[in-house]
């Protein structure tokens, strides 16, 4: 599945910040592959649910914050420079994270209410 996203002003600003210029297409399908290839799953889980690292989805942080964090980080996560994770891949990963649906309310899951 390839998604062409329409970005609001914040996302457009992020796109400019990423150096892509103007509107650009981000692919959730590519993003899912990049998420695996670049090892995001190792700490954040195959569905970005979290593990040693925090959950990334649903409701990922805005792309500009996301990008700034991935490039520099501040704590346990190793930074990913543009040399090893391109801006396009990063945008795709963010697009993938946006497609991950919200979980059910735990109150509706019997096993979590034993």
């Amino acid at each position: 599945m390839r998604l062409v996203r329409r970005f609001g002003p914040a996302a457009l600003a992020a796109g400019l910040a990423l150096g892509c210029g103007g509107a650009f297409a981000a692919s959730a399908e590519k993003g899912k592959a990049a998420y695996i290839q670049h090892g995001c799953w190792q700490c954040h889980g195959m569905q970005a649910q979290g593990g040693p690292g925090p959950k990334l989805a649903p409701d990922p942080i805005p792309i500009e914050t996301f990008t700034a964090f991935v490039r520099t980080t501040n704590r346990a996560m190793p930074p990913y420079s543009e040399a090893i994770l391109s801006n396009d891949d990063l945008a795709d990963i963010h697009a993938y994270l946006q497609t991950i649906p919200k979980p059910a309310d735990y109150k509706s899951i019997p096993l979590l209410n034993q």
Binding site: C43, G45, M46, K55, P78, D105, L112, Q114
Partner: protein, 656 residues
């Protein structure tokens, strides 16, 4: 070993003579070879000084022994069994070896294979880890026998785990000291001057008894030292000659020293009073416990202290110290607002007060403080009584304001009374208010944990939260005990299962030597079997592959447990380490054909753990990747375990 006293008529050496006929033949060989070389007729290559075993020696070691002349008198190893039996040691997990064949024979024939019962193990590391896990449930130590050199080398990692985890294990290594009389070849390769040197840095005490009376004193002393807090492993080198020779009449009657348990060391009364004063007057005291509670009473005492102070408690998980259902239980971040921190049997107080972030320049870590500068620190820790230099398990040095080198559980009653006496009457309302805030924070925390568990609920491979709760549904009405350490990896059972009794959670390995989990779970399950409890093991895949033979030991000795594979198909900690370093060096991690960086995955081919377990006598099923299939499989497996047999489910999981 030199013998100063006259030898008995039937000596060990004569006894050995029959068995060593082949060895004697071998002994003649070198001079013949030398003669041939010196007359120049044969150009023999130079032979190494340490010869590999000849065929004759190998046969003598491995083949059925020839008919031997019968030994007279009472074997010395029978007396050793008499000594061992006074100490109420129930089991002896061990891998058999020639260097302790005499005491092995005495244990199963003279001793009737009871107290202790020999449990056949496929690896010495497994035997030690079984003893480790057993103690954490039963509170009683086991002994193990191992071959003096190669066997002890196998056992060493297990012993180091026990050392770091403050667990008593009595390790007896067979060794043939008498270089002039021991069989040549393999038995000599497997002998050493001082086998205990290998593990001296991480055992509390060791000895090499040279007489039977010396053995009696050493063994009782070893038991006593191992069982005095801080607990720890001990080692005895047991000479093959001493085991095999008959008891000699030296005019001295052998006796067995009486064992009287040593009382655990308590904190100095002045230090207890000062600690109580600081805690009673604190605005926000926090208790951090690691290996504080070793019994139900220890848990009860800690709850009492926390409630008197309405102090938040962080359980580091070295043991099950504090119920996770209690409103005062808090996550590690709670130290940030503390003005007084009481550390109980902490592995690493420095890491409570500080954080190390593996994310600095060039991959070098950064240290930051996690507490306020004025926070007062109190430590009660028996490990301060037992520090050695070489291995660094003592961690970084942390200055504290009150330091008690004492056993926490033994000191808590005095501390509780001192705190009660020290609380000013005008502080009681503030303390009560602290409790109200803690109740609210606890309730919010529980909500967050459950909502986090709902993430990826239907994922395949199965989420670790889902797996944990599927298991819980089948064990919650049983008297269960989680005998694995996999909670460290993803921690869901510790967050979601109500843990109120000390045997619900046993803590980790101590030394973090991978390979501990499977055998320790079998040892713990053995103790639980005898206590009528149901054992659950969430078994990490990489851990099991170190020494999977322990699965056979469990089946062979009817040790039931429910093992659910936490099969994430990788050495996951290392997956992340290599990724981290790749990032620091601005290089894309090379995955090869796997998902993780080369060298860190356990896939291609995927290991069929269910078939592995089945081949060793377990009921097993898998691989299970669909979460909907897990519940029905668990139902079947639990029924098998209830019938007294071990069962394993191979579950493919999310990474953590």
């Amino acid at each position: 070993m030199a013998r100063k006293q006259p030898r008995p008529e039937v000596s060990r050496r004569k006894f050995l003579a029959g068995a060593a006929v082949a060895g004697a033949t071998t002994a003649l060989a070198p001079p013949v070879a030398k003669a041939a070389a010196t007359d120049g007729s044969i150009s023999a290559p130079r032979r190494p000084s340490a010869l590999p075993p000849t065929m004759q020696v190998a046969v003598a070691e491995t083949a059925t022994p020839k008919e031997l002349p019968r030994i007279g008198g009472v074997p010395g190893s029978d007396f050793m069994v008499d000594v061992i039996k006074t100490l109420d040691i129930k089991y002896l997990p061990s891998n058999p070896a020639s260097s302790f064949r005499a005491i092995h024979e005495s244990l199963i024939n003279y001793g009737g294979n009871k107290m202790p019962e020999f449990l056949t193990c496929a690896h010495e590391e497994s035997a030690v880890a079984m003893a480790h896990g057993y103690f954490k449930v039963a509170g009683k130590p086991l002994m193990t026998l191992c071959h003096g050199t190669v066997g002890l080398q196998h056992a060493a990692m297990g012993i180091y785990n026990a050392w770091c985890d403050r667990v008593p294990v009595i390790v007896v290594g067979g060794n043939d000291l008498d270089a002039a009389h021991r069989p040549p070849g393999v038995p000599t390769i497997h002998s050493a001057q001082d086998i205990n040197a290998l593990v001296r840095d991480f055992t509390k005490w060791d000895d090499t008894p040279v007489s039977l009376q010396h053995f009696a004193q050493s063994f009782v002393r070893a038991y006593k030292i191992a069982m005095t807090p801080p607990y720890g492993p001990v080692a005895i080198s047991l000479d093959a000659g001493l085991q095999q020779e008959p008891i000699r009449n030296n005019g001295e009657k052998l006796y067995i020293p009486r064992h009287v348990p040593t009382s655990p060391p308590q904190g100095d009364s002045g230090a207890v009073k000062e600690a109580a004063r600081l805690l009673a007057n604190a605005q926000n005291p926090v208790i951090v416990a690691d290996r504080a509670a070793r019994s139900e009473n220890g848990v009860r005492l800690l709850v009492e202290l926390a409630e008197i102070l309405q102090a938040q408690v962080i359980d580091q998980g070295g043991r099950m110290n504090f119920p996770n259902t209690h409103y005062l239980r808090r996550p590690p971040t709670a130290v940030g607002n503390a003005d007084v921190i009481l550390g109980l049997e902490l592995t690493d107080f420095w890491a409570i007060a500080n954080a190390y972030i593996d994310n600095g320049e060039h991959g070098v870590g950064v240290n930051t403080s996690r507490i306020k500068p004025e926070t007062k620190l109190i430590s009660i820790n028996a490990s301060e009584l037992l520090t050695k230099a070489n291995y660094q398990d003592f961690q970084r040095f942390q200055s504290v304001d009150v330091s008690m080198p004492a056993d926490a559980e033994a000191t808590l009653p005095a501390l509780i009374e001192a705190v009660k006496a020290a609380i000013p009457s005008d502080r009681k309302a503030a303390i009560e208010k602290r409790g109200e805030a803690a109740r609210k924070a606890y309730a919010e925390q529980r909500e967050r944990i459950r909502q986090a568990a709902a993430l990826a609920w239907d994922a395949s491979p199965i989420s670790t939260a889902r797996m944990s709760m599927e298991i819980w549904a089948h064990i919650k009405d049983l008297d269960w005990s989680l005998v694995s350490v996999s909670g460290v990896g993803f921690n869901w059972p510790n967050r979601l299962w109500p843990m109120e009794k000390h045997y619900r959670w046993l803590g980790a390995s101590g030394g973090y030597g991978v390979g501990y989990g499977a055998p320790a779970s079998v040892g713990a399950a053995l103790a639980n079997r005898d206590l009528g409890r149901f054992s659950v093991n969430i078994q990490a895949d990489g851990d099991l592959m170190y020494a999977p033979g322990v699965l056979w030991t469990a089946a062979r000795h009817n040790i039931p447990q429910l093992a659910v594979m936490f099969n994430n198909r990788g050495y996951h900690q290392e997956v992340m380490h290599v990724q981290r370093l790749s990032n620091f060096r601005n290089r894309v991690a090379n995955l090869g054909n796997d998902m993780g960086p080369i060298g860190t995955s356990i896939q291609n081919p995927d290991i069929e753990y269910h078939k592995l377990a089945e081949s060793m006598g377990w009921w097993a099923k898998g691989p299970i990747k669909d979460p909907a299939q897990l519940g029905p499989a668990l139902k079947e497996a639990v029924a098998v375990v209830k019938s007294g047999q071990p069962a394993l489910l191979n579950v493919w999981t999310q990474p953590r």
